[in-house]
Subunit: 225 residues, 2 copies
Amino acid sequence: MKILIIEDEKDLQNALAEHFRKEKFVIEVADNYMQAHEKIGVYDYDCILLDIMLPGGSGLELLKYLKSLGKSDNVIVISAKNSLEDKLEGLSLGADDYLTKPFHIAELNARVKAVLRRNTFDGKNTISVNNLSLNIDDRILLVNEKEVHLNRKEFDILSYFLANQKRLVTKSTLAEHVWGDHIDQADNFDFIYYQIKNLRKKLSKANARIAIEAHYGVGYKLLPE
Amino acid sequence: MKILIIEDEKDLQNALAEHFRKEKFVIEVADNYMQAHEKIGVYDYDCILLDIMLPGGSGLELLKYLKSLGKSDNVIVISAKNSLEDKLEGLSLGADDYLTKPFHIAELNARVKAVLRRNTFDGKNTISVNNLSLNIDDRILLVNEKEVHLNRKEFDILSYFLANQKRLVTKSTLAEHVWGDHIDQADNFDFIYYQIKNLRKKLSKANARIAIEAHYGVGYKLLPE
DNA sequence: TTTAACTTATGAAAATTTTGATAATCGAAG
DNA sequence: CTTCGATTATCAAAATTTTCATAAGTTAAA
């Protein structure tokens, strides 16, 4: 998963890059119009964070360019507090989302994840991988066409993993999504270990052809096998 | 709690009115520009649902008017699917939120509640009523300066009640907020009854000077006593 | 006023989740 | 290739939440 950060303020740029690197994204940075334009033309990104105020040209021009390339649907516009107009024009140009400075990085993080997840789930209410299929609405897991009972946390964890397949999911991200705001920065993650253990047990008993990989010091990744 | 629905499409208007009446709001309706303009000038509402396309004038004009009166911060703009421009201009005029048709009424419901709650909580992280004070961030309840331990559901329920003081809270609304999306339309609410029972027990043991009133067939209301 | 239908309250049991202690595993540094 | 510190896994116990059965209360209609 690759994120392009288009932002000239060095402090913010570094903070963003650091944060998302920790979340195990591949980060690229552009700090002016030309550089951004070039990267956009050549590479594909899973998500683009776009500041509007840039040296060398307006971020809105970049957005138009992205739109012309059909790559504008995973852009999150970041605009200065007072330039509401930018924000609005940004939206009308098809940006997926916007955020006004200053913002909490947790907020941005949530939105990035939302953008990425959207592209995974699409409109469907069922995700299938190998021999499993998960119906989000009815909260039913089928492995080899047979229902496997998951309780609430197990289901939430698995669906988050499936929505973020092959991507490394941080423990705190998982906690935030499955358990809620309160538990964001816990000092131990026993509750995750326990649920993961049981989830794995159920999956393997049902011969599900996926694996939940632990990544030392970071989190987990779900892989088809 | 009073909501003004400015909407000319009769079907939608009725659906909205009916829904929010069930949620125990007081509903007023305006189905054209003039009527809306008059009501806005005379009365105060806790939330205003504003359609942009109206007979007799644009909703955006009403929004400007509301803004000039300093009453624009609890407006939710409802715009037709394709009129993105309206949406944007609406936002720039200070509307709190917007929604494009068609929308799920549950979505609108959630946003209305959010608008109302914001005005209750403000920026504070503590709500106080009589001899209790609830710290939202640290999730601590004090009654007469002494901590009363609440477990998760109890805390969530109480904080929702406090954010919606003196307002009737539907069981399904409560379920949606405390338990999440899944349990919106349950066929029984035993889990609510159980938590309410224990919450009441803890509150009364601590001599908290509030009461959780049951409203037959509808839900609960929290009252200072 | 009484009944019938339905809603809410309550306690006990079942299921799930969280916590704590302990063991196994991993990865960096020597 | 060891060792050490830290992370992850596992089990059992504690706490919480959900479910179930039943009782009590409420409303509307006869």
